[in-house]
Symmetry: C2
Subunit: 332 residues, 2 copies
């Protein structure tokens, strides 16, 4: 293996000099030596060992990203945003899937700390509303994304206002004349799910209308659940004119139910999602949904984290990331 020592000897200089060349320490090296060293580095195919340099600089230029599941369509965009900002800034990202399990999450957090990552971005599992003391007190900066964690600095959290998004949507629906809206929520113990439902309620309240009876069903953020629950509901009642869903996956389950029962989306029953994952624009009819700016969330989370690593300070953003109602054809 070719090391800095090897290069130094061949170039007839010290390792310190080679190090300065590699790291572009300006003004510390004469053009002559720089060129000569560079030349030899090239000839020898020398690749600096960043593990060794991490030993002394105490930074790995690596961050950890813990998400529930990269195959959940909400997360790829987010991950991409993180990786983009990271790589633009010469950081590398380690991907971890926690499956929403606290123990997996803990294991990853420990692993990441052992690997001396410079920081961690976490879309915390639904069971986590708090971070363990060790992590909180550790040297590793942490940024929470999508889900709020109580102990963390507000500026260390990248979230969008879920309540506001659904409020917007339901207000729109009420204005359009929908009255019997059924809300298919994600796990209601989750902050995001709770907030989305609050938005639902507030829209009714501000419109001075009473929600219909049993308008809330809480389950999980999956197509399967959306399918099952909507199927079940429609077997029992016929008064519903719209489903607002905790996320797009659930909405797609409703699509399946309607399709199966020969009902037309929009024409017979309207459907509204949340997230605006890729699919929503591609199904027919296009799904009216509330767009979560997931790429930006990831990008901003990385920006926040790396800024913190560099400066010790969190960025204070003036513009919050906002959810946005995207009207397509699943409502009329």
């Amino acid at each position: 293996m070719v090391t800095i020592n090897h290069i130094a000897k061949l170039a007839g200089v010290s390792t310190a000099t080679v190090s300065n060349v590699i790291n572009n320490k300006l003004g510390k090296i004469s053009d002559g030596t720089r060129d000569r060293v560079l030349q030899i580095i090239k000839e020898e195919g020398y690749i600096p060992n960043r593990v060794a340099s991490s030993m002394v600089t105490k930074q790995t230029k690596t961050i950890g990203l813990i998400i529930p599941d990269i195959s959940n369509p909400f997360f790829p965009d987010l991950a991409r945003g993180v990786e983009d900002f990271a790589s633009e800034n010469d950081y590398t990202v380690i991907l971890c899937n926690s499956d929403n399990k606290l123990d997996k999450e803990e294991t990853y957090i420990e692993m990441l700390q052992e690997k001396m990552v410079d920081g961690i971005i976490i879309a915390a599992s639904r069971s986590r509303t708090t971070v363990s003391g060790e992590l909180l007190n550790s040297r590793v900066p942490i940024v929470s994304i999508d889900r709020k964690i109580a102990e963390l600095d507000d500026d260390a959290q990248v979230i969008v206002d879920n309540e506001e998004g659904v409020f917007q949507a339901v207000t729109y629906l009420l204005k359009k004349g929908y009255r019997n809206i059924c809300h298919l929520s994600g796990p209601i113990e989750l902050k995001t799910a709770k907030d989305r439902y609050s938005g639902f309620l507030r829209a009714y309240k501000e419109a001075g209308i009473e929600p219909m009876a049993s308008h809330l069903h809480a389950g999980s953020y999956t197509t399967d659940w959306g399918y099952e629950i909507s199927s079940q509901i429609l077997s029992n009642r016929t008064d519903i004119d719209c489903f607002t869903c905790g996320n797009d996956l659930i909405a797609l389950g409703v699509y399946r139910t309607l399709h199966e029962r020969g009902l037309k989306v929009a024409e017979d029953i309207a459907v509204v999602g949340y997230d605006d994952i890729y699919v929503s624009n591609v199904v027919s009819p296009g799904l009216t949904t509330i767009r979560q700016p997931s790429y930006q969330m990831g990008y901003r989370a990385a920006e926040t984290l790396i800024n913190k690593i560099r400066t010790g300070q969190f960025i204070k953003y003036t513009l919050p990331l906002r959810a946005e109602l995207i009207i397509r054809e699943s409502t009329k």
Copy 2:
């Protein structure tokens, strides 16, 4: 910062002993000391520095995963497969998005080598049919996934037979009576795209039927292109009874075109995709497609790589990963 030294002093033992405890060297430590050391480690909240141990063991327990783009729905499952096998085996994965750009890919490869990853899994950019000499000769084992790279050992490539998959599908379509099938291919310079088209041709040939004129259109693996090209084709001719698409994204573009023109999928024109990404089962009508076992591909790639890292040998699999025709409602 609490180090192994610190623990050793507190426990009144040597660092070697603490090291043996941490790494569970069996038979090298008495129960008494083990317990005492473990106790102190806990009390002090000691986290072993794996960067330091990597220095001496010459392995980082980290692999790199280079894919074109995690937001492309084909890759999350694959990435998940990689990460699952890796984490089960105590490896960590660094995620890199190359955007199909050779230069980004090169940069990542260099970065990964500098970070001393133990191996690399790469879904190579379309421009790459070969690996640079440095990489090939480097100490870093490399496994190619989805796309074949000439110089690599056959056992270091995790691919499925694309030709076979499409052959199956088109044979099925011809049997069903479809005759004027139009193939909307991905970038034809890509091996995968080429193979899929070959399967198309062979199906016709073995059926003793002549493909219709101008049945091939090559573009890119995107919904937008699928939309545009199908729209354009249908403006010019009315004889087409089926589109076979290079991937599901293209197929979804065709869905959009048909929808826009008031044409019914299946009833008026059949559509067949490739990959079986998540969406395909969720759109209405469900998309008939050729399933790429992407999770397994990722899982197997990681298995192959890590086995190579550990034993120096590639695994020889007896069962190839196969594409499988999934018949849904977009064909009749």
